[in-house]
Structure formats: C-alpha cells, structure tokens
C-alpha cells in the first residue's frame, strides 16, 4: 500500500506542477504592470526634475505619469487583469476539455478535489503575486520619498486589491464555465456570455425603464449598479460620479493616472479621491462573488463527466448560459431600437419572436439535434416568463408603487428642474447624474411639486410623439431619502401648466437667490450654491451682437453684479422670464477661472453648425471627425451668457457705475429676409444637409457663433436670434458669401427666402421681431436682418405680428 508520505509527496508534486502551469499569463501581467506602472514611478523619482525639487512632502505619482506613453494602459489594465484571470483558468483546466489529457490527468493518483484545489490555489498565488509585487514596489518607493501616509496606504490597498480581484473574478468565471463545457470554444463563449449577460440584462432594464417606466431617471446609482454586474467594468467605472460631476468623475482609471488634466505641481494623489469603503465595497462584493463562483466550480467539477471532453453542447448549463446571452442580447437590442416607439405588448411580441430565432439557432449549433435542442426550450420558456414579468413590472410602474405620490406631511423638501431659464447655466437644477439642485421646504412649493407630480404621472404617453418639454422632480422625505422622477410632456397644455406651476411659484426666487446671492460652499461638489460666483464675468455692449471683434470688459465686483441681477430677475413676471419680447441691450459672458478671455472675443474659430434632431442631439455621420463634432459642446460648457434687457434697471445701473456701458452704436438695416414657412435655421440646415448627403457638402454652414446663437434649441424651447459674421461657405464655394449661402440653403430645401429691401418696411418688420420667444404652438417666421455694415442677424417674428409681412 502506498504510504501517507508518498501520498503527500504526490499531492505536493501536483501543486508544484499546477503552479508552473498557471504562471504564463500572470507573468505577462506582471511584466505589463511593472513596465507601465512601476518603472515610470521609479523613473520619475530618480529623474533630474524630481531631484531638483526642494519640497518633497507630498505623495507623488502613485502609478504613472499619464503624460507618457503609458497613459492608455490605465484604461485597459483592469479589464486586462480580468482577461488574464480567464486565460489562466483556460491554461489550468484545459485538461478537462481535451480527450487526450483527460485520459492522463484523471487516471493519475490524485483525488479530483485535490487536483482542483491545487489549480485554484496556484492561480490565486500567481495572480496575486503578479499584482502585489509591482504595486508594493511603488508603495515602498512612495514611502521612501514622501513618507508614510494613511491615504497612500488606502490607495495602495485599493489598487492592489482591485487588480487582484479583477484577475480572480475572471479566473473564477472561466473556471466555472470550464466545468460545464465540452471544448475550449464552448468554454470561451460561455465565459464571455456569462460575464456579459448580467450587464446586458441591466442595460436592458434601464432601456425599458427609459422607454416605458414613467418618471424614470437614469442616476449615477444605477450606473454603479449596472457596472457592478459587469466584471469587465466593475472596477473601472464603478466609482463614476462618486464625488459628483463637478469634480469630474473619479474612477479607478484616474487613480491609475492621477495627472489627467492636472498641472505638474499636482504630482500626487488628489486628496478628494477619498478612497474609503465606497471604493472598497464593489471590490469586496466581487471578491465574494468570485469565492461563491469558485464554490460552484467545485460542485460542478465533481459532477462533470469525463466522457464529455472534446464535445459540444453536452452540458445543459453552458447551453443555457449561451442561450440566455443570445436571448438577452436580442432583447436588449430590441429595447434599445424600439424605445419609446411602441407599446410594451408589441415590444414583448417582438422579443419573443426574435429571441426564439436567436435561441433556436444557438441551441441547434450547439447540439445539432432537433430533439435535444427542443429539450433546451424549457429554459427559453423561463426566460420569456421572466421577460414578461419584467415588462409587467415596468408597465405598471412597479405595480403602482413607483409614482405613488407621498403625503405632504412626509415631505421634507422639494425641487424641480428649471431648464427653461436659458439665461442661466443650463445644468443648474437639471439633476443630470448629480445632486446639485436647489431644494425648497416651503409648504407652497411642496404643494406645487406634488401637484406637478400628479399632473405629470397622468400624462398619456404618445409613442413616436414629439415632446413639448421635460421636467424633473426631486422629493426628499423626512428620513432624507430622495425620490427623483423625470417626465416627458407630450401635450402643449401639460407643458403650459407645468410652466405656470413652476414659474408662478416662489421656487424660482429660491433658484435665483441660490445661484446669484449665496456664497460658494466649503464643499462645492454637493451643492450648487454660489454658481454665479465661481465664474468671472465680462460685459459686452450690444455691438457684441453685431461685430465679431467687440471687446469684453471684465467685471471685478461679481458679488455686486449678482445682487443687481437678482433684484431684476426676481422682479420679472413669468411672461418676461420665459417670453421676453425685448431685444437685449448688452450681454454678460462668463468663463471658468483660469481661462483668460479678457480682451479677446470668445469666438469659436472654425466651428460648425451640425444638424440636430428634435431632442437637440447632434447628428453626424462618418464624414464628420469626432473631435470636430464635439467642439460646439465644449464651447457651450465654457461659456454662459446672460442677456440684459432695458427693464433690468438694477443691472444696467451697476454696469454704468462700473464703467462698463459705453455708447450704443446704431446699425443700419439694409434688407430683411424671411421664408414662407415656420422653419428655423437648424431645421433648414438639417433639411439642407439631407439634400446634400451624397455630395460631401454637409459642413456647408461654417461660421463663428456668438450670443445667443450657440444654443440652438428646437421646438420645446426658446427661439434665439441667429448671428452670422464670419468667412462662410468654403465647403460649398470659396467665393460664396454668407448672404448667398443663406439664400441657397432655403432655396434648396424648397422654401426660398423672400426679400424686403425697402428700408422702412424692413425696419417695421424688425421692430415687430423678438430675439427670444417661447414659440409653443406659435407659427411665426424666422427673419434674417441684413445690416449695411455686413452682419446678418436672425430674429423671430411671432405669429401675432405676421400681418406686417403683407
């Protein structure tokens, strides 16, 4: 009989062999981590630049100098570790899917469980070492150069644990799927399917909620939830928006490359990367998931039949996993494609039919027998039932609980979006993945928001219909718990009612006060107060509307300006706020601190107008370069404009007192152009571009935009004047003037512009136009005013004033 000693030796030998077997990919990971993270840190602290510095009391570059070649690795390293874990599992358990190797390994004198234990332990050791060694070198390097710090230790622990858990999770998932796969391809497909299906399922639920759950709003919490079910992104994106949008989302890639957008003096881990349990939690969750999956691996390993090596479709689990992935992929695609365009029952039918085909194809490919494939359809039935339950849950608003209006006594404070105040930074009170909004706890506002809630939840959904508007509500209960709801408004009367409720309440005053008067809080990340004071402000007289080179004048007393604006705006009526028929006499423009616009025109050279859809999304195709397409968006973020009207006496007085206002210049109207249709510049552009889709002339409209043409809202919003004053048309014809281009665009879309050259008549039309107008249901005309001095400015002629055109 074989002695216990020899048994132990054999088990030990098997462990050593499996350790060697699992080395390859962790070694590659180690090399990559070392050369992309460790080496740059060592290189930095030994560089001449570093040695020349006199103060070394901060934690320096934890991982890498992101201005270097290694920048890109921060993005892919966590996902790379997941892949590394999966490949290590493939190497460790390939013997199970190879008929030849099964004969050798399973006839060896080692218990199956021992064999499995050895391989798992080997992978854990090699994966951990691959991460730990390069990270600990960085850690020690930091300690040696900058001293010990609790923050540094937390970052080190987090990054090490996160990368290790990425690898371990990949390894665990792939190992489990190897236990229920006949060959390497089945194992690979089922592993990828398993790792992506939960993510796709959550994406699908989100898509369903977006399209069919009334009041649903995508929040950062949901982002975290979705990402947390995806091993490929769990560590990379889980911390998105962790510290709020304003600070830029913080995620692990920023930890890996802390220098993004930072100056050279910031060679440290920013302290606001508060690596607390919020960071560790998802990693620990995935560690638990990995351990549970490893437990399942043991169970499946002991049930695995050796005769299924080198087979396909013999295991019902992998067939179900791959089938489910096909089902969910099809369902997700349909939900995305049909979102908001049909009712839930039609969607359900589409999913049932399309996923049946996908599922059947997958099963037939796997088993190649109708009879066996047919047996697998029990699982398909389960998937259909789950889908039906999901759709019913969403269709009924989670059985009526989602939009249940709380009792006013249970409400502590409320808030509502005020996007219609276009004169202000448009992200104020919009709730986009942040909690930066103004709350009011007055009884009047509580009632107003609850009434609005009732109104909006009962708004009938119009599939494929245009929205009149959109509103977001936030209701905080006495326990501090927030309820967000975002509703589309399809009917104009609902939208009007919403405007009356919100802008007729004193909530607007609270907004103005918060924005203009309140001081910047200590922690600006979770409070929108004092937004106005975060900017520096500049003044331009009305010439700004007409001349590209109009200078700005910096305003030093921002506090005073804010107070003056608050007095004027809070005194305005709803009509004046939303439908100001006045033409502004001057504008105030802002920039972020650090951007020097003084003495310069905030123009966007070479910018282009792109066709936008009804929701304001930029439409572009392959002809557009991505970086070009996003220029207008960046520009919008960097500048806010506040128009100043004649009735804003306090503001005008302030500007005069501060020597900003100079003499107004009067320009001479030469001609007025208008068309026979209610069509604005964007729609004209859009139609024009469609006409020229095959002629590579999509970028015909090229000019610099100034106030207020930058914002090009469509139906639901305000009509802005549109201003042109730049070299034009070089994509169509180098010699074509802006005037000629304008006429060409409207002519080509079948709505040629009519011309009024009689100066008196032209002036009369101009006098009846407005620069901003809420044209809900208004079928007025967009009018282009051509000045003797060159520029062309777009105004809106309301329907009520259209008689002037006769």
């Amino acid at each position: 009989m074989t002695s216990q000693k020899s048994l132990n030796n054999v088990n030990r030998n098997d462990f050593v062999r499996s350790l060697k077997e699992s080395l390859l990919f962790p070694v590659i990971a180690f090399i990559v981590l070392f050369f992309t993270m460790t080496a740059p840190v060592i290189s930095y602290v030994t560089s001449e630049d570093f040695l020349m510095q006199t103060v070394h009391n901060e934690i320096s570059v934890f991982l890498t100098d992101t201005s270097s070649f290694y920048y890109m690795f921060a993005e892919i390293v966590p996902a790379g570790m997941v892949a590394c874990g999966m490949l290590t599992a493939a190497k460790s358990f390939y013997y199970l899917v190879s008929k030849k190797q099964v004969n050798v390994f399973l006839s060896l004198g080692v218990k199956r469980n021992t064999m499995l234990k050895n391989r798992i332990l080997s992978a854990v050791i090699t994966l951990f070492t691959a991460v730990f060694v390069p990270m600990v070198i960085i850690y020690i390097t930091n300690i040696v150069n900058f001293g010990m710090s609790a923050h540094l230790t937390r970052v080190f622990l987090y990054v090490t644990l996160m990368l290790f858990v990425c690898g371990l999770t990949g390894f665990a998932l792939a190992s489990m799927m190897f236990m229920v796969s006949g060959n390497i391809f089945e194992a690979a497909f089922s592993t990828i399917a398993l790792s992506l299906t939960p993510f796709l399922a959550f994406e699908m639920i989100d898509g369903l909620s977006h399209g069919w759950l009334k009041g649903y709003i995508y929040t950062a919490k949901f982002t975290r939830l979705v990402d947390s079910f995806n091993p490929w992104t769990m560590a990379t994106n889980l911390q998105n928006d962790y510290t709020g949008e304003d600070e830029g989302f913080v995620n692990v890639t920023k930890l890996l490359r802390p220098l993004i957008g930072s100056g050279a003096e910031n060679y440290k881990i920013p302290e606001h990367f508060n690596v607390d349990m919020g960071f560790f939690l998802p990693v620990i969750c995935w560690l638990v998931v990995a351990l549970v999956v490893i437990g399942a691996t043991f169970y499946l390993y002991n049930r695995r039949k050796a005769e299924h090596a080198n087979s396909l479709g013999k295991f019902s689990v992998s067939r179900a996993v791959i089938g489910t992935a096909a089902f969910v992929l099809v369902a997700w695609f349909l939900v995305s494609a049909l979102s908001g365009s049909c009712n839930l029952f039609l969607l359900f039918l589409a999913i049932v039919v399309a996923s049946f085909i996908a599922y059947a194809v997958v099963q037939l490919v796997l088993v190649r027998k109708f009879k066996t494939a047919f047996k697998s359809f029990k699982w398909y039935g389960v998937l259909v039932a789950v889908t039906a339950l999901c759709l019913i849950t969403i269709g009924t608003g989670i059985f009526g609980t989602y939009n249940k209006i709380p009792d006013i006594k249970e409400v502590k404070s409320v808030s509502v979006s005020t996007n219609e105040l276009e004169a202000f930074p448009h992200y104020i009170n919009t709730y986009d993945n942040s909690e930066n909004f103004v709350e009011s706890s007055t009884e009047e506002n509580k009632k107003m928001v609850l009434e609005l809630f009732e109104l909006l939840k009962n708004e009938k959904t119009v599939y494929n219909g245009e929205w009149a508007g959109e509103a977001t509500l936030a209701i905080r209960d006495n326990d501090g718990k927030l309820k967000y709801r975002r509703f589309a408004m399809y009917r104009e009367e609902t939208y009007r009612k919403y405007l009356e409720l919100v802008y007729g309440s004193d909530f607007i005053d609270a907004i103005f006060k918060n924005y203009l008067i309140d001081d910047i809080p200590d922690d600006p990340t979770n409070d929108s107060s004092g937004y106005f004071k975060k900017y520096f402000w500049q003044y331009s007289d009305s010439d700004m509307l007409l001349k590209a080179d109009a200078p700005f004048v910096a305003i030093e007393d921002v506090d005073g300006l804010g107070e003056a604006l608050y007095k004027d705006l809070s005194a305005m009526s709803v009509e004046q706020l939303l439908k100001n028929n006045e033409k502004p006499v001057c504008i105030l423009a802002s920039g972020y601190e650090g951007m020097d616009f003084l003495g310069e025109v905030p123009m966007l050279t070479e910018s282009k107008i792109y066709p936008i859809d009804k929701e304001g999304n930029i439409l572009y195709d392959k002809d557009y370069k991505e970086e070009t397409a996003f220029i207008p968006a960046e520009y919008g973020l960097l500048h806010e404009y506040i128009p100043v009207y004649k009735n804003m006496t306090n503001t005008l007085e302030f500007l005069k007192t501060n020597d900003c206002i100079t003499d107004e210049k009067q320009l001479t109207i030469k001609e007025v152009l208008y068309t026979d249709s209610f069509i604005n510049h964007n729609l004209a552009s859009y139609k024009f571009v469609e006409l020229n889709a095959d002629k590579n002339e999509r970028t015909a409209h090229s000019y610099t935009l100034h106030y207020p043409a930058v914002e090009t809202k469509t139906f639901e919003q305000l009509a802005y004047g549109l201003y042109h004053n730049q070299e034009i048309g070089y994509f169509i014809d180098e010699t074509m003037t802006e005037y000629e281009l304008l006429k060409k665009v409207y002519k080509d879309i079948g709505h040629p512009l009519k011309s009024v050259t009689d100066t008196e008549k032209a002036q009369e039309i101009f006098d009846n136009t407005v620069s901003r107008y809420m044209y809900l249901g208004d079928q007025g005309r967009f009018v282009y005013v051509v000045y003797e001095e060159g520029p062309i400015v777009c105004y809106y002629l309301p329907e009520a004033n259209m008689n002037i055109l006769k």
Partner: protein
C-alpha cells in the same frame, strides 16, 4: 487484483457496457477482446477511474478505483490516443510521471530506452506513431504500476517491437506480480500473451475463460467424402458452425468433441482430421456476426 463487479456504463441514453463482471488476478495478463466500439476502451477507462460507472464498480485489491488517489498511484493506463505535451521528450515525461508514481524507476527507464533504441532527449512529437507508443510503454513500465491497463497497445509497433514488448510484459508481470489488462481486436497478438481472455459482444461479456480452456472447449474437423454432401447430412449433429464445399466439410464443435467425433464417423467420410481452433476462429464464432454475401457486390 482488478475486479469488475457488475459494471454498467452509459453515455446519455446509450448503454456502452452492461453488467460486466470479471477478475484479473495478480501475476496475470487479461486479454479484452471485442469489435471496434464493443466497449473495451470504456471498460478500461472505468477501471482507470476516468469514467464513473452508472452501475457496479471496479475494485483494485478490494477498493473502488473511482477517485481513489491511493490505489491509482499504483495504476497506469496507456490509452489508445496518446498525449504528449508540445516539446516533451521521454525524460521530461518521465519526470512528470515520477511526480505521480512514487515507485517510478529512472534506472528501469534507461534500460528500457536502450532496449527500444529510443533517444530520451528527443521530442516525442517528432517520433513515428510506433515510436510514440514505445515511449509510452517505457514510461508505463518505469512507473512500476501494480495495475497496468493497455488499450490497443500493439497498434503501430513493428513485429520485432511487438515481440520485445510482449516479453517485457510477461517479464514485468512475473517480476512484480502485477495485473495487466490488454485490449485488442487483433487476437493473434493476445493468444501467446494472455492467461485469460474476455470477449465483449453486444455490451456484455460473452466469454471469460483462460486461453487454455479455449483450445479445450472447441474442436474443428475437416471431413472428406466420396460423394457430394449437403447440410441435411448433418441434421442429427449439434455443431457450432458448418461450411460445405463439394465433398469437403469443415465443422466446429463446442465441448463434447469425442461424442461428436463418433457421430461424424457414422457419416462415413473418406478422411477426418481434427484441428486446434485459433483464438481468432473462436472470436469469430462467438461474435456470430451477420454473414453477408459479398461475392456479388462488384458484378
């Protein structure tokens, strides 16, 4: 001793072998015979602990072989389909098996390499099929197992190496009191090697006896008559098989040869000769294969 106790192995709905029982004593070589696909490999893999039997069990000296690390350390299975890792040579494979077989002898390995004339440092994947099989046999014998399972082991070996291998197996068995099971469909390979043979036919073990018993149990006679004869002439005789070619008849009996000879003499043949049955003939008779008339296929 290797003992099969009512072993049944199924692959899904398909039953490969059913209720098979036999023993392989120490110091004996058991030949497992059967058509291609009869279930020989299935039985060997079950004995090696690779497959789990749906019914019954395989015992190695009284202990179940499945997931038995203790007993399987004394077992070596040479499959029909050999596995050698990329770049492996005999020496590296020897180190591999030495890790799992505590009695592995490098001294024996060297001697066997010399006997077969193989270079232990050459890549095995560069070997011919026969040489790869020799390499595996060398590794198996150097592992010094108590239980050696060999699946179609002589495939690809040249006659000289076959003879060497047979002698080595006999020598090894005698020296170590090991139990060997050799599966084959080539009966001539087993007839001078095995002590006992088992025949698998139709999922079942239809014959399990010693090679000596086979020669004793079957009798074959050639009879020459002075007249044309028909099957009708043999109607009172209980035979295993009968072939008639004009005036010549070949007849095989199972057991009671003396009694049958008496009946044959009563048919008054001109001459009567008795032969010893080869194992192949026994095998073919036992399999009762469906007889096809293949004479007209190419007309």
């Amino acid at each position: 001793m290797i003992e099969f106790v009512n072993v049944t192995k199924k692959f899904g709905d398909f039953t490969a072998v059913e209720d098979i029982s036999f023993k392989v004593e120490p110091s004996s070589i058991y030949g497992l015979i059967g058509y291609n696909g009869a279930g020989k490999t299935t039985l060997l893999k079950t004995a090696a602990g690779i497959y789990r039997a749906e019914g019954g069990k395989v015992l190695l000296d009284g202990e179940n072989t499945y997931d038995n690390d203790n007993k399987r350390r004394d077992l070596f299975y040479i499959p029909d389909d050999l596995y050698f890792p990329m770049n492996a040579n005999v020496m590296s494979m020897a180190k591999f098996y030495a890790d799992y077989h505590p009695d592995f002898s490098f001294k024996t390995l060297e001697k066997l390499l010399e006997v077969y004339g193989l270079d232990g440092k050459k890549k095995i994947r560069g070997f011919s099929k026969g040489m790869q099989r020799q390499a595996e046999i060398i590794l198996a014998l150097a592992s010094r197992p108590k239980y050696l399972l060999l699946d179609e082991t002589f495939d690809g070996l040249d006659p000289q190496k076959k003879e060497i291998t047979k002698k080595l197996f006999i020598e090894y068995m005698a020296e170590t009191e090991a139990s060997l099971i050799i599966s084959s469909h080539n009966l001539s390979e087993l007839s001078d090697l095995c002590d006992n043979v088992g025949l698998i036919n139709g999922k079942k073990l239809t014959m399990d006896c010693s090679v000596y018993d086979i020669s004793q149990n079957y009798s074959k006679f050639r009879l020459i008559f002075d007249r044309q004869i028909t099957e009708n002439d043999f109607k009172d005789i209980q035979y295993k098989s009968l072939e008639i070619d004009g005036r010549v008849a070949m007849i095989i009996f199972e057991k009671n040869a003396d009694e049958q000879r008496h009946k044959l003499n009563a048919l008054l043949p001109m001459a009567i000769d008795e032969y010893r049955l080869t194992m192949e003939e026994v095998f073919l008779n036992e399999m009762e294969e469906k007889k096809y008339d293949i004479t007209k296929i190419f007309e």
